[in-house]
Symmetry: D2
Subunit: 402 residues, 4 copies
């Protein structure tokens, strides 16, 4: 028997400054705090340096809850903090641009939630700033990190479905079906940009790009199904109740958007985004069909991927329901056996790890700000198509930027 | 104990003449032969008078198999036969028009498989001939008869989903994914009209109309994924093999079609039709979402309907998986308990019964030739939209004809 | 063009006499009436000779509905009728024995619904009578005819799951959950024998035997959950309502039975039968696991079989959801493409065809009265095990009879 | 704008000492590290004091990965450490007893993984030691914390299924199907006790107790399907490969166990535990049926609970698929909207929080060592029943201890 001994670390520190203290602040911080516990070995000691939010009270509460050493009501304090190496942006969409550009200009790496910006033009400026400063960027398209989706991508790249024929994707939630669910910043044009499209559809667009490539053109229809909503009793956010006599504010962006899309690869397809899908609490998934196979996935069954592959034995039919496991993506850092459900919080580990390793290895992370820009370009085209009632081509300029 | 006694019928006869001896001839005849056994009481004795097919051999084989008293290689013999009261058209699409018009002009009632015609113009002529002759018509959109779909229609009419917001529907099969699956008449423009659209999409269009009303406009994309296919060894039809060195013929219509649709009701949605959906053997279903509820259905789970309804108890979430049973449509003539799987063959009983009762009660059957015409109008608009790459409005004329 | 010609048959006649006019009478008759239409060619002209039921009114109504030439209130008229070649027994269970033995003694072939008899002793007498008379017998375990189940059996026989390890099976319905659902003959010991066990569990026992072989021993528990039920307003049967003040009669047999089973093959498992399974309208299925693979099935998803097979590519995991189609059982006589839902009525075609061909080819049909007897032996052992609270071994005598 | 300010905590510290550095050490530590981030406010500052494992190398690696301040190769160092308030036992089963008793005797609270002990006798000693020392104990039956399961328990307690009629539960995994998967401590009698029963079945037993109450009697069958397995190349654990010529060791406990159970409540049911369930990667679930409703759950669909309830509107049938959300258990500390998948790691937050609050509030946590003992009693009875081939009653003594 030996006596207990102390653990000593000699690793460099990676200082994290975060802007925002809401749901995604929690998700990101949970990843930061357990990143080494999950991966076993990471090249930095993560230090939670500072948290900013709109008021000092919000910021202090957030910093206490999440364990940041300091708090502030000014995001400038975060991007200017000398101990901060990486700025983590988990604010409403309209703030992404200025924080990200300032952070990059200060030489900080940036993790930014999606959608990257209110417009593709803004997103392009963010990407340019990051490239000019040579910092690593990552956009929080968590579902791309899902081991099932990562594996789908690998299978398609390996030719396992042949040439892509069609992509159909959906992200529909029930959270705003009730017309008395209070308004949030997500329903306001100046703060959120588009509605269901930017909040939910952006994920589907990102998955479509990852699986069947760039968009060539889009046609679209959208609707506001709830014209106005009551002001909430407290802060904005999904699910908070309003007083019975609360004043109502107009909803300014799409509750539901339907898209018809053509891809550069020749594939065709449809996308659906809805925050008013009665009954469907969390319906996120896709079917990708090719000339020789197909892959189906939905997020609620993230423990499995349905696959019909070119390499299946001659005469095979139907989908194998492949349990997701250590062979797929980064699943193995969580569990050594197949088929165990993981969570969206787990996906944030995978994002954070790629970001940290990209910094360590001086390479790009994925998806970066250019990817975020491309998604914004598709969203802009969808909004234009819906407004004009006709097909909109994605610009050649956009394609050059790939 | 009594001695056995004979059964004596005094009902009038309804003479059936059928044109075609393939898969749908079997399905229709199975319904004719067992209609009274299933329903217990129908107002006619059904008599299977005559069957026609392209050759005398095919016709004799069909008549023997299905139990028709006579056979012929001329469809004119059917429409002219004095004992025939109802002409049942189960031929390739291009023959529907002439047979139906001749039958109607001879005063025969008509049951015609879908799609009703190669073009909406042809369909309109058929509808006019039938109306001029005052005969009862029915188009074989079997899935509309599914007790689950009938119940969905009732629920929507009763306001149980509020105002329709979206409709997404699909009919995708795997049957033609293999490029060496032989060509059939369904791949030939002059015999079939459109491809997956007319064969499969027509059903989705019919369900959309039944659930959320008339189409207002469509945008569409389509593809031929298999450029040519070998000539079959024997007759055409799904699944028959070709010789290894069989000559190949060009596929002339869509293997897959994707549609973006706006409806007069204000609902928006998408439709998918594919005969090359690898892995998906028989994927037919829809989601209809409204402001207060939603209904989901797929044909392979026809034993249940997923419902989220306005009348659900306050605070309810998620879908009830309602077992389909005697309370829904005509299910009860088959089984007295819930949740038993029925089949497409069973749906043909329901069609035949409505047709027979419409004849008996001198009323319209549903969906009749005018409904079939409307579906053709939507298909024509979809093909035009796909060809031109822009949104096509359904004509006001079409709407007047409702 | 030729003139129409008449169809002429020269095949021998197979005369059918049926006893009973209820749900199974309908199912059997639908099969008889369409057997040739479905299979294309059968070696007999089927003639529906006579139908018997308990009263002349019931018998006449049944004969009219189903198209039998004569009717009677005496089953003796059926077994004695000179034109009857095959007696079809679709009565309550307690009548099976006497009718079947009389039919066999008169040289008639017999199709009898399950369970074959109230006791294994009775079933043995029936089997002996049939063997003595050298007539063909069939017991109506329809689910064994399901193409998915037939294919499962083939796969297991081919070694595709290795050595059987476990079988778990269930047949649970919701029909009798409501304590005010009226009593039927199925709740009466003298007419039905056991309750859920004989009505539902018998099917699971039959499937277990078909898939993993004979039972070695059983332990069991059962319950009556509804002590008494009201008398029905009309005839017995599932689902008929009673008057509010209807007198109540005691339920005399199991509403639910749970079984622990060991098989001669070394496999172990459980079986569940319930007619009071709230929420589960029609839950019939099994999982068979072996040392190298497994097969899962449930009747409501009869369009597919879940398979994990020894011949799967190295490293495969999870189940392929194999669409059922023409490659499986007799599916192909119904549809040429995979994944189409068929129905319980369709299974009766498959039973009837095997029976007819067995008669024609002078061979045994399957499952015959000896199989029915074996199922009764297992049911008797289960009831004994439940009554005595201990494990009961299946007799060696029973095994010799295999 | 204000300058950034530091966060200062004045809460008391709760010192954690952990024994083990494997999969459950990771899961527990992830919970400890993020407990406040998840719950927002907990009454202690958690301090990770010390980690022990069998060798100093393992212990150092574990402490570094998980962030414990010290490491040791002696579990005595943990239970004796003055800064340790709570001992967290995540070792192979055979070590639970001595560590837990020593920890309790030193006045440390204890979180112990399941099964609590190799025998009910050992478990009782542990419970007695904890009660004598008045420390809080918790046994790691994580699935009991699943919000869906918590809600099921509430619904049953509220009478929503009426009187329990049946419970059927399963925990079956595919991890050990391959006979060349190396042996681990879990296959050794002296280290693990039973096999699939203790590893997997223990969870089903715990859920059965939570939902339908104490076991009254059990009958059981079990099998070893893989007689011997190769020694692993490295450490034990699921999934690690062996050398081709690795020596093989005998498997000493059940690969699969099937149980028939009667409960004090009158309910009857079956339980299945298997580590060799080919195809079923992670099949964990149950159906509880009562006289007026039923609840179904499976872990892979943990985002929903299937409910058929007494309070459903008159005439309702089928199951509502209730999305799990903030209204259920502690789900709301993770996500504000329904239907998002959570993970087994998330369940550990819920366990840790109950434990911490029980310490703070000087109350029992649940399930505690007495609950763990009861599960061991049921497992002992199952093993005895399987060995003797007859039904075993749970002792009255056991029931008195409730």
């Amino acid at each position: 028997m030996t006596a207990a001994k102390p653990v000593i670390s000699t690793k460099p520190t990676l200082g994290i400054g975060i802007v925002g203290s809401g749901l995604m602040a929690k998700a990101h911080t949970m990843a930061w705090r357990n990143l080494q516990a999950v991966y076993g070995e990471i090249p930095f000691d993560i230090k939670l340096v500072i948290l900013a939010d709109a008021t000092e009270d919000l910021a202090r509460a957030g910093a206490e809850q999440f364990g940041y050493a300091e708090y502030t009501d000014s995001w400038e304090d975060v991007v200017n903090h000398p101990e901060v190496d990486l700025v983590d942006i988990v604010t409403p969409n309209w703030l992404h641009r200025d924080i990200a550009i300032a952070a990059a200009q200060n030489g900080k790496h940036v993790w930014c939630e999606k959608p990257l910006a209110l417009t593709a033009t803004d997103a392009a400026k963010m990407a340019e700033a990051a490239e000019a400063a040579d910092v690593v960027t990552l956009v929080g398209f968590s579902y791309l990190r899902n081991p099932a989706v990562v594996h789908a991508q690998r299978l398609i790249e390996a030719g396992e479905i042949g040439t892509p024929v069609s992509f159909t994707g959906v992200f529909a939630i029930d959270a705003m079906t009730d017309p008395d669910t209070p308004i949030t910043w997500r329903q306001r044009r100046e703060e959120a940009g588009s509605g269901a499209l930017g909040d939910l559809g952006a994920h589907v667009i990102a998955m479509a790009r990852a699986l069947v490539g760039e968009f060539d053109s889009v046609a679209a229809l959208n609707k506001i199904t709830v014209a106005d909503r009551p002001e909430p009793a407290g802060n904005f956010g999904y699910g908070e109740r309003a007083a019975d006599d609360a004043p109502r504010q107009a909803v300014e962006n799409d509750d539901v958007t339907m898209v018809l899309a053509a891809f550069d690869s020749g594939a065709i397809g449809t996308l659906e985004a809805s925050r008013v899908s009665a009954g469907r609490a969390y319906d996120l998934g896709f079917t990708v069909t090719g000339t020789k196979g197909a892959i189906r996935f939905d997020q609620q069954h993230m423990y499995e991927l349905q696959v019909r592959l070119a390499s299946d034995p001659e005469g095979s039919t139907g989908f194998r329901h492949l349990p997701v496991g250590p062979a797929h993506g980064d699943f193995g850092v969580l569990w050594p056996v197949d088929g165990i459900n993981i969570s969206i919080h787990d996906l944030k580990f995978f994002e954070a790890y790629d970001l940290v390793m990209a910094i360590h290895e001086d390479r790009k992370a994925w998806p970066d700000f250019r990817d975020g820009q491309r998604v914004c370009e598709v969203m802009d085209a969808i909004e234009q198509a819906a407004a004009e009632g006709q097909t909109v081509a994605l610009s050649a300029a956009g394609e050059d930027a790939k």
